[in-house]
Symmetry: C2
């Protein structure tokens, strides 16, 4: 009986989201921006409640043995809360994607045919992350004219309840449907499963979290999924490359922030120039505190490197560890990436224009980088503003995903009574 | 043992498709167009074989009791075969979507950031349709730089084998990978099920066929699906509408070709003006051989109308039958469409600009039509050229889907050694 009741509840929540999405879709920019600013104000006004709830989340997480870095990401303080509110205001400042005209033609029979950006409808955002993701994702979904169903992780459960309450009240107060942002209770996989069956009311699922969690979502979902999976990013250093540039790009890709999805996980170096290129790159990384795991040819040039195991290729270390392989030229590098890459971000360092062209054309990844750090594949760096994640699916949107990725389009045909002959 | 062997075969076929897709992605327009012209020539050269195989398909279908109209759609003759070849040449004449630049900016740090159209990769096209769909879909997938796995219906099984053979040989002869078009044997649901599990090698599934078939595909697929489902299209005739225009649009929508997905299935008329509008529209449709199934108020104005059953709302008749309902103004019409529409094509006939605006803004469908026939939602009519179907999903592409819908995009970042601070 309890189970049936809970499933009915999930379905009712989704139906409310669908109704709210119809209400959201017709709002103009000013209304949506006013609501976002009200959300920021409401977050600031509830600082005490939110910090108290968060302190209990942190305490519980510590009780479950959660480690220092994870705990730090979960914990809020007045400065972090202020940043969350500011981020929501920054989304308000972004252009409204809804209504943008993607194509506009007049047919020989006088029909005007346009494709116009419209909201997707209801987005289910299922994630295991720190509280600021709750506010970022809500702000993006609302600005794009969608309703969102949030299902956050257990760690931030109490914080998310306060945040979602603040958002709903701000929506209410500014005349927008409060059900446009709803929170599904954390820690209940059956409820997630049920959510992902609601093809009538939920248009898109966006999972963000561990590999295992994303695999679970992809397996059970009957709703379309845009997955934000792992990034096994490579850098290929071509023969003849500028060694100083290669050192800089490798260092930045691996060490600037090793725990994120656009960090470098594997370095490939052309065998014909490896004796010149690899030792200085390796020395710099080792001095930066990085462990190298190399192939045989790597270890001849860099004795400090440990031997790489078979499963170090294609592995997301998310740590100060880098796999290093000497390969026989561009073709072998392309082959390695096709086999071990995850379609996230793939970089080349080269002075050869035709090799750069082949890299751009032959690499099948969300983001292809020539002579720059993989770390640039990021919403802020590419000019999108906030991001809801980085898609490694190939359908609908690829790579870093902001407001545009949260919209779809509609054909609009305007006539004067035309009929088809 | 047989089952294991067959499943292994499906997986091997998908891996060959993946390899072929890498070969296709790097071809320029001239190479792809030459292959398409060679395919057209090969189809013409095999006229005898193809007509003989098709005659056996038709014979078998007749033996299974297939009806006249279905049989007619299946049957090829020299004229239809010539049209199939011409359609492939028409795809060759379309612009190449690959390489189109969707955005191009230079960031403050000098990085150039572009989004560029690229092929999707491997498309699984599963359909139950006449043989020309095999050539149309293959031509579109190849032109967009993809590999395609075709799984046609049992009715056209022998015809499809000859067509797929002609295509593969033409690819071979023009230096393109012959595995870019492969045919999965018809009539084996387990093979389809296996195909739709190949998330490593298949990027997108496009089902086209009966409601039951599409439901099956959506249920079993772990690969992203763009569904081409039913069209329950409405026309709302607003108070004050031009009666002659309303008659023309309703007639064309319902009777020009009743068996297709963009045909009209339900007419809604504003109660406040129904006495003027509905009788002439109804008379014209009845004279055209259409059966009307109306609500109570409809039947008061049109005594010839039969009473509509509850399940006539939201029903795809695909026949000379139309549901008719008198509604209380625009809001009630929008409500009816939101409840019973399938997100395909929704039309309004109105002289009120603000009502037209609300229709464009509040209708959630792939195609919104103002003062024209729903029948215009078609690849040829909207200027796309050939189409692979009409998507009723909201993700990736909506409505009539041609070359652009068969592509995705890639971020390309070009730098001069920039690193992230």
């Amino acid at each position: 009986m309890l189970r049936v009741g809970r499933m009915t509840e999930v379905r009712a929540l989704c139906r409310r989201a669908r109704a709210a999405s119809r209400g959201m879709a017709v709002r103009d920019r000013a209304e949506k921006d006013a609501a976002l600013r009200a959300i920021a104000a409401e977050l600031r006004a509830r600082e005490r409640d939110l910090l108290a709830a968060n302190a209990r989340d942190v305490e519980d997480a510590r009780g479950r043995g959660t480690s220092g870095a994870m705990l730090d990401r979960l914990a809020l303080d007045p400065r972090r809360l202020a940043q969350m509110a500011e981020a929501v205001e920054q989304v308000a400042a972004l252009d409204d994607p809804v209504g943008a005209v993607l194509s506009d033609t007049v047919r020989p029979n006088g029909l005007r045919v346009r494709r116009v950006r419209v909201p997707i409808g209801v987005v289910a955002f299922v994630y295991e992350a720190r509280p600021n993701v709750t506010t970022d994702a809500s702000a993006l979904c609302l600005k794009a004219g969608n309703a969102v169903i949030l299902r956050g992780g257990s760690d931030a459960a109490r914080s998310n309840v306060v945040i979602a309450g603040a958002i709903a009240d701000a929506l209410d107060r500014t005349g927008l449907p409060r059900d446009a942002v709803q929170l599904l209770p954390a820690g209940d996989r059956d409820a997630v499963r049920e959510l992902l069956q609601q093809t009538d009311t939920v248009d898109l699922a966006i999972p963000r979290g561990s590999e295992a969690f994303i695999r679970f979502v992809k397996e059970v979902s009957r709703v379309p999924v845009i997955a934000h999976a792992s990034g096994v990013c490579h850098l290929f250093v071509d023969a003849g490359a500028d060694v100083a540039m290669a050192v800089r790009i490798a260092h930045n890709g691996k060490l600037q922030r090793p725990g994120v999805c656009n960090a470098l996980e594997c370095l490939l170096v052309d065998a014909s120039d490896a004796a010149r290129l690899l030792p200085p790159i390796a020395r710099d990384l080792i001095e930066g505190g990085c462990e190298l795991r190399g192939c045989e040819r790597t270890r001849q040039l860099v004795p400090e490197a440990k031997p790489a195991a078979d499963d170090d290729w294609g592995r997301e270390f998310l740590d100060r560890i880098l796999a290093v392989r000497v390969v026989d030229g561009l073709d072998a590098a392309l082959e390695h990436v096709a086999r071990f890459g995850t379609g996230h971000t793939e970089a080349i360092c080269t002075r050869d224009g035709s090799h750069a062209d082949r890299w751009r054309r032959e690499i099948d990844a969300a983001c292809v980088v020539v002579n720059a750090s993989t770390r640039f594949h990021d919403g802020g760096e590419l000019g999108l503003g906030a991001e809801i994640g980085t898609a490694t699916s190939k359908i609908h949107w690829r790579g870093v995903m902001g407001l545009e990725g949260l919209t779809t389009f509609q054909w609009i045909i305007d006539g004067e009574g035309q009929t088809r002959g």
